[in-house]
Symmetry: C2
Subunit: 142 residues, 2 copies
């Protein structure tokens, strides 16, 4: 199978497939006489696995670790589980951050309706307030 077919079957772009090869997520395939990459079904499986991991927002490094561990069936899957645990925690943390951000933005946005002049814009005033607050605290310091 040539790279274009593999791209069609996986839904990944040709460049992405070559990129994964450079990152050693996918081992370099055989080449035809004319130097075209020639893939087996194993490569397809591997790429789908990688795609699934990426859909879970795992980094290339995390995927690399999982693939490496997966390669020897007798080893413990502890590191795979640790990777997933850390990943879950990272996402939990990110959600918390974004929730807080969202609240701030929504309350900021509530301070302005649409047809004001810049001078009167509630949103900009909110942003400036924080700057002013900072300056005041700095004045205390100096």
């Amino acid at each position: 199978m040539k790279i274009g077919q593999l791209a069609d079957k996986t839904g990944l772009s040709i460049q992405t497939i070559r990129f994964y090869e450079r990152k050693a997520l996918l081992s370099a395939p055989e080449r035809t006489q004319s130097n075209y990459r020639s893939y087996s079904d194993d490569a397809l499986k591997q790429l789908l696995f990688i795609k699934q991991c990426r859909a879970l927002d795992m980094t290339i490094e995390e995927i690399s670790l999982v693939l490496e561990t997966r390669a020897n069936p007798e080893s413990s899957c502890e590191s795979v589980n640790a990777t997933i645990d850390k990943h879950i925690d990272d996402i939990r943390q990110r959600i918390t951050e974004l929730d807080a951000l969202q609240k701030t933005l929504v309350s900021m946005r509530a301070a302005c309706d649409d047809d004001k002049k810049i001078r009167e814009c509630g949103v900009l005033h909110e942003l400036d307030n924080i700057v002013e607050a900072h300056k005041l605290s700095k004045n205390h310091e100096y």
Copy 2:
């Protein structure tokens, strides 16, 4: 004020300040005879404003737009509000995505405890299942 002091006062790194200058978020300051950047208090204010926007996860481009709009006090603040609205929506969407991801990961993780061999790892089996499902659907197609 030299760049180091400005960095201290804003909590930004020197490189970041120079980076914002290159990106035209911060106008190029006066230079001393020895070519050192020399900043006014306005630059401090501007940087704090930018920092605040970044803390709200706004992109440089978004901040650029807001700063530009802010520069003429008689214009309408509609575009500022539109920027914030879109940003709020982006974040809402990202939170939704991450929530779904989180659920998938947690349920996947529940399929394995820590001291299994790779062969038996529930997490890896979950990941493979999705690959298998894909292959089956492909088999129908061809």
